[in-house]
Amino acid sequence: EADIYQTPRYLVIGTGKKITLECSQTMGHDKMYWYQQDPGMELHLIHYSYGVNSTEKGDLSSESTVSRIRTEHFPLTLESARPSHTSQYLCATSGRNSNQPQHFGDGTRLSIL
């Protein structure tokens, strides 16, 4: 089982602030993902990375950006938070091969006032 750590678990912050959501993993997985999800609704892939210095946009357009400087870390940044960014953000990882399972962190619940 992958160990995936997301911080903070909850964040309530004002409009216009810069936010970085952290995701780190200890399994050495090459592939990492960010999903955005409103409670109980569909998961939307917003960013993914298949290795260091490799990032791609997902299916849902997002104003956030990501970086992958180290295998273990895949932070997501919002330069200027808006109320429309209020959501849950879930980080996931999987191994190098396409037939390996994907695992999720506990998520960050973000509320922008």
Binding site: G40, M41, E42, L43, Q88, S98, N99, P101, Q102, G107
Partner: protein, 108 residues
């Protein structure tokens, strides 16, 4: 890309009842997973099952890869089974595609 369709979208069960959730895929997949999202929003792996049958306690899953569908069976349901069940599939080097989920409520 692959389309994933889950049914039913919503399900209400009396505690102790059995149920079957279904996931259809528009194309072949070599990675297929079932997840349970609990009321706290955590997504828990249930099964990695691109083919065949697996069982874990009261839960079991069967994937018929040639017919592009998978079934999740919940027997003797408990209130703690409530939440949203997602299936997801993929092939090659593309990210998993998730279904819209089945929202299950088990009432005592």
């Amino acid at each position: 890309g692959i389309q994933v369709e889950q049914s039913p979208p919503d399900l209400i069960l009396q505690e102790g009842a059995n149920s079957t959730l279904r996931c259809n895929f528009s194309d072949s997949v070599n990675n297929l997973q079932w997840f349970h999202q609990n009321p706290w929003g955590q997504l828990i792996n249930l099964f990695y099952i691109p083919s065949g049958t697996k069982q874990n306690g009261r839960l079991s899953a069967t994937t018929v890869a040639t017919e592009r569908y998978s079934l999740l069976y919940i027997s003797s349901s408990q209130t703690t089974d409530s939440g949203v069940y997602f299936c997801a599939g993929g092939s090659g080097n593309t990210p998993l595609v998730f279904g819209k989920g089945t929202r299950l409520s088990v009432i005592a």
